[in-house]
Symmetry: C2
Amino acid sequence: MSETQTYPVEARNRVKRRHDRGFYDHETVHRLLDAAALCHVAYAVDGQPYCTPTLFWREGTRLYWHGSSASRMLRNLSEGQPACLTVTHFDSLVLARCGFNHSADYRSVMAFGQARLVADPEEKCRALVMMVDRFFPHRTAGLRQSTDQEIKATAVIAMEIESASAKIRAKGVADDEEDYALPVYAERLPIRTVIGAPEPCPRLRPGVARPADLASYRAERPLEEALAEAYAEAYRG
Amino acid sequence: MSETQTYPVEARNRVKRRHDRGFYDHETVHRLLDAAALCHVAYAVDGQPYCTPTLFWREGTRLYWHGSSASRMLRNLSEGQPACLTVTHFDSLVLARCGFNHSADYRSVMAFGQARLVADPEEKCRALVMMVDRFFPHRTAGLRQSTDQEIKATAVIAMEIESASAKIRAKGVADDEEDYALPVYAERLPIRTVIGAPEPCPRLRPGVARPADLASYRAERPLEEALAEAYAEAYRG
């Protein structure tokens, strides 16, 4: 009975180079998105491309990110404009026996759609709550409420994913068969992004302890594990 | 006698939002670039923006990256086309006492210029050597030489940096003064990208040991330290 949903494969998202590395199913694409906090968004203003790093989050097949109402990215967005949001998990550097086979292991997603400013007050309000709760489940309920001025100063951008692709390389050293006979050192150099020891604000009020909801963010844990767990919790809770 | 060189500040690279976080001097911009291997490049094809992750390296005020000769990014590049190459070091998630002040510490660079295919055989040859040696100093000399077919299949893209900006947030929790009185937990959650234990290729020839030049890539070290060290060594050696 399970039906695999996939994003449509078009010219813009078809993985051309190394198409064996391409995936279009929702499950793969969403899993890689939900394990990340940081993305890079490409958009163009008057023909000039920009590549802006920002925090983002997902709700179904819709992506959200935010910015200052004054930011460059947001001009002319109310009508919607084409954008590409990319997430990359950088897993290793690969040292091979020839220059050509030097590479990297990675898991990335490119998502395409029309970015638009969220104008509807209800959608904006829910999005601003999820901007915090998606990373730190149930947190918003305990915070000082946002002021009207803060809400006005924050622009929320939404982009329905029209097409997307995931690209994964996870094979370490892959030399030409005849090159394995060479007396050349080769290795996979793993890379991981981890959480450090949490640094409580030095100005905490007496008796204010770290909430149990933050337990998944613990020192030495891979960030992507904690983010994926928080995502699942936020959308279940 | 020291003269601080800076990139020109234009409309496209001026840090508009939080301009107190903006830097334009070569030293800051180059230091952040040289501590990274992965970048994201924004470019547009027929009005559609793309955001592509790739390995890159720097030579003076010129950036290089590469791709397959068949890749989408490289079509129509011979004439040069506007691009933006961005590098982001993601340093923390910041939990504040209100939603608006939730943030992240980061160090990023956006570099603007005209991307062009490297056609000159001599420049391409030198660039392909530095693509390996910039990350792993002196390595190319010990590798199986590239074949003509491999060189042909690899496209090298160069972009002279016309303008660039660095943007740095490094202050952890920064709440409104009156909010520090609230009984709300707040913290800085540090994030770092580290090297794991190197995984030698299982098919190494007997007696082939890890070269001393790779010593800076050791387990638990921050990746950016090893990359910055390798960069300095490659351009000194």
